[in-house]
Amino acid sequence: MNKTLNQKAWLFVIPVFVLVAFNAAIPLMTVVNYSFQETFGSNVFAWEGTRWFKEILHSERFHASLGRQVIFTFIILLIQLPLGIGIALTMPKKGWGVPVCLILMSMPLLIPWNVVGAMWNIFALPEIGFLGNSLNSLGFDYNFTQQSGDAWFTTILMDVWHWTSLVVLLSYAGLNSIQPAYYQAAEIDGASRWDIFRYIELPKMKKVLTLAILLRFMDSFMIYTEPFVLTGGGPGNATNFLSLDLVKMALGQFDLGPAAAMSLIYFLIVLLICWIFYTIMMKDEGRS
């Protein structure tokens, strides 16, 4: 759409600007403030310069939790995107099946995150949980509170349960925007099922899939509540992701300086990746 130049449009944006600035700028300044200082409690601070940043960037603890976080997010995207697209492709397009699918599939998205964690905890407990009990009676030695492999498996399965529906809903929206004429044309040309997917459906879903990837990347990279309730980062440090580690440092040990420095590094990583992705996406849009 060709937009007209109108500087008065800023007036429309002011409420949003004020609300978000109020919430983002002030707390962010507090974090920046802490990250350069040492605190001795009761509001006594001393200037520390970039010491915390250097410490965090060289700390093995940070490297370990960052590594776990990257692997987790990578696995999540690798499972949820193809699975979500696949389910969206097989969903009914009309009739009573549509609302039933939409309503039932949205359910996990609307459950508070700690309830999701608690629910999966009860579901996966080796003795009394359905998943744990079934796996053990099938002969697997499964105990997610003791074995790190099982803890990872359970955390990933929980996230797949929790968030795949978002990818399904978005892909479904993209698929529905395709005019029937495209399919008819493909049929006349004798296109195979794969060709239809590759050359019609996938390009048409590009915009919603971008949104899905961005949302899933951001949210899985910031995951906190669900693993906190499910595993508490354990056993040991096996599922101690970035956010969990950060909160442990900030609220548990009250190391405000290092925690603030870590927050900023964390935020900058997310920002950088999203910016790169966003720029590539916008460039593509400009070309076509």
Binding site: W10, V13, M119, M222, S263
Partner: protein, 266 residues
């Protein structure tokens, strides 16, 4: 082929329902039964857990608190995002692209980063432990999302609609409320759904910003489980009840969802 097609969504839905069923199953058992007997359905069916929640005000007030701030947040987010999304979809102005990306960056900020500064900030402006504090803090991630979704829907509406209305002598205000908003009603429905969803499910900030008066149900659950050992039955009942508001919202917006998603502009 047709039969196999039904299989995938069906299996997926069964997978989604299993943990939910397990939670419901637990909520009708006593804690002793949960720990001692493994059974696929409650042997010793009880409504005791639900009775405790509905008669104890520390429990049921949690639900009221959560619903209150979620509704506040949905109203604030959508009404602030409507004019902004209109501006982004219709006009070019100084710094528009940068502003749009800056808004999105706030959706990217890990809540864990903001928990402590939020606590200090809202305490210093005397809003700590109020519903409005949580509603405002959730604007951090809900407003960017609302602007993003609404902008998509509004861009799908041809500009000729605006121009025709002005030619017909509509003022901007009348056009916006009488013509434009009804046109994108499905989009607003979807946006409200997402705002409600993200505010309802968030716990970290809601817990950090409250002590007693505005404490959300999710936070009450974590507190109870840590003080009196694991009251598993009660926990399961409280958890099951948190599913209801979401289910009600989905039920009301189900047509909008189908229509909005069909527009493919999310």
């Amino acid at each position: 082929m047709k039969k196999i097609k039904w299989l995938v969504p069906t299996v997926y839905i069964i997978f989604l329902m299993l943990p939910i069923y397990w939670l419901l199953n637990m909520s009708f058992k006593t804690t002793t039964e949960i720990i001692n007997v493994y059974s696929l359905w409650p042997k010793d069916f009880t409504l005791e857990n639900y009775k405790t929640i509905f008669t104890d005000s520390t429990w049921y007030m949690g639900y009221i608190n959560s619903i209150t701030y979620t509704v506040f947040n949905t109203i604030i987010s959508v009404s602030a995002a409507l004019p902004a999304a209109y501006a982004f979809s219709r006009y070019k102005f100084l710094g528009d692209k940068h502003l749009f990306f800056w808004l999105l960056t706030n959706r990217m900020a890990p809540p864990a980063v903001f928990a402590l500064p939020f606590f200090q900030f809202y305490s210093s402006v005397n809003l700590f432990d109020t519903h409005i504090a949580i509603a405002l803090s959730h604007c951090l991630f809900n407003i960017p999302l609302a602007v993003w979704i609404l902008e998509g829907f509004m861009s799908a509406v041809p500009k000729e609609l605006d121009e025709t209305a002005y030619v017909d002598g509509y003022s901007f205000g009348r056009f916006f409320f009488k013509i434009f908003i009804p046109t994108i009603a499905a989009g607003i429905g979807i946006t409200m759904f997402f705002c409600f969803m993200f505010s309802w499910v968030e716990l970290l900030l809601a817990k950090t910003l409250t002590a007693t008066v505005a404490k959300p149900i999710a936070a009450i659950m974590t507190r109870t489980s840590s003080t009196s050992g694991y009251e598993l039955g009660l926990l399961a009942a409280a958890g099951s009840l948190t599913i209801i508001p979401g289910a009600v919202v989905i039920y009301f917006v189900r047509n909008y969802i189908a229509k909005g998603f069909a527009m493919g502009r999310v």
